[in-house]
Amino acid sequence: MRAAGRALALALALAGPLACGGNERGGEARPAPSAALEIRDARVEPSPSGAGPAGGFLTLVNGSDRPWTLVGASSPAAARVELHRSWIESGVAHMAPLDALPVAPGERVALEPGGAHLMLFGATGLAPGDTVVLRLEFADAPPREVTARVVAAGGEHAGHEGEHAPHAHP
């Protein structure tokens, strides 16, 4: 699985400049083709108490040959959105703000419960079935808007150990 991922990353890294070299990107050298940068499975979990921040979760898939770095987010449904990371070390749960979440070329990083996540402050009155627009800011690519579906917290992830727990460093 991991080897296949590396092979794919390598193939993409090699094929990228050949395939997209002159024509698709034209003279513009910097930004990666947006089609190669995918945001999947965006969802928002309202706070179970109704009082705390909602959690925002999604998967970033970098099919380009360049790094893709999430540095912030906002939403019309929230007063502010922050990027955080949770982790458990020696049985202790930690959480800290995250400045940047890099996604290496050919890699994917999941923002999910127990790992990196967005926190939507002031996002009240959300119910499963609603949708929320998230605007994601990147250090090395144009911002992107995605529509996240609102799902119940602790539902589908009960006792679930993420297979792509991101080990991002601030």
């Binding site: 706070s47 108490s49 458990i88 992830h157 009960a158």
Partner: protein, 223 residues
């Protein structure tokens, strides 16, 4: 077989008695020695598998006074007479706490639907964030996961009486903005027995089915 007569007979009878007494003494000493050795050995916790760490000797909890999610006092007495699963967290924790709360919900489901069904263990979330988690907030939070769950919090000194006795770590940390804060906190679930003593610890990641099985084994061993 002829019966020996005279001084030789008397002597052999004495020897036989001496041997009997010596034999009895050896048995008594041996039993005493075995019981002493056994007493000097550390008590053995029952084998319940890797899901839980059982304390060799249950640790009695001190008295404390918290307030539950209905606004009623929550004291040591509320932990007496039945088993309790305790978790320390806070309602505005958006990531780890909901995972643990959902795990506890699934654990309770395993117990209630298993064989034999066990419906007498309570699940308590103790909030380490009394400033933000008033009874109404806690009520919403715990009931979101299971209507039988209890939420409790109180004065920091009272929370600390409990966390110190249970070996639960918690510390306030800066959040993403000035008016926001988070907590680092133990992600373990603590099992308190009907004597209100810490009996076992479930460390993350907790598998609800494995934890339910371990709990059944712990109850059986204590009986």
């Amino acid at each position: 077989m002829s019966t020996p007569i005279g001084p030789q007979a008397e002597q052999s009878r004495r020897i036989r008695w001496a041997l009997r007494i010596a034999g009895a003494a050896v048995v008594v000493l041996g039993l005493w020695f075995v019981s002493e050795v056994r007493r000097s050995l550390p008590p053995q916790a029952p084998e319940v598998g890797p899901a839980a760490t059982v304390l060799p000797v249950p640790k009695p909890l001190p008295t404390f006074t918290l307030t539950d999610d209905a606004g009623e006092p929550f004291t040591r007495e509320r932990l007496e007479g039945h088993w309790s699963f305790l978790f320390f967290g806070y309602a505005s924790c958006p990531s780890i706490c909901p995972i643990t709360m959902a795990t506890l919900r699934d654990l309770r489901h395993e117990l209630v639907t298993g064989s034999p069904p066990l419906d007498d263990a309570q699940v308590v979330l103790v909030s380490i964030d009394p400033d933000r988690d008033d009874p109404a907030t806690l009520h919403h939070y715990v009931h979101y996961f299971d209507p039988t769950f209890v939420g409790a919090t109180g004065e920091p000194a009272e929370i600390d009486r409990l966390t110190r006795a249970l070996g639960v770590f918690h510390q306030r940390t800066p959040g993403g903005s000035d008016d926001d804060y988070d907590f680092d906190h133990s992600a373990s679930v603590l099992l308190v027995d009907p004597d209100a003593s810490l009996h076992a610890v479930f460390s993350p990641p907790i598998d609800p089915a494995a934890a339910a099985e371990a709990f059944r084994a712990i109850r059986k061993a204590r009986r």
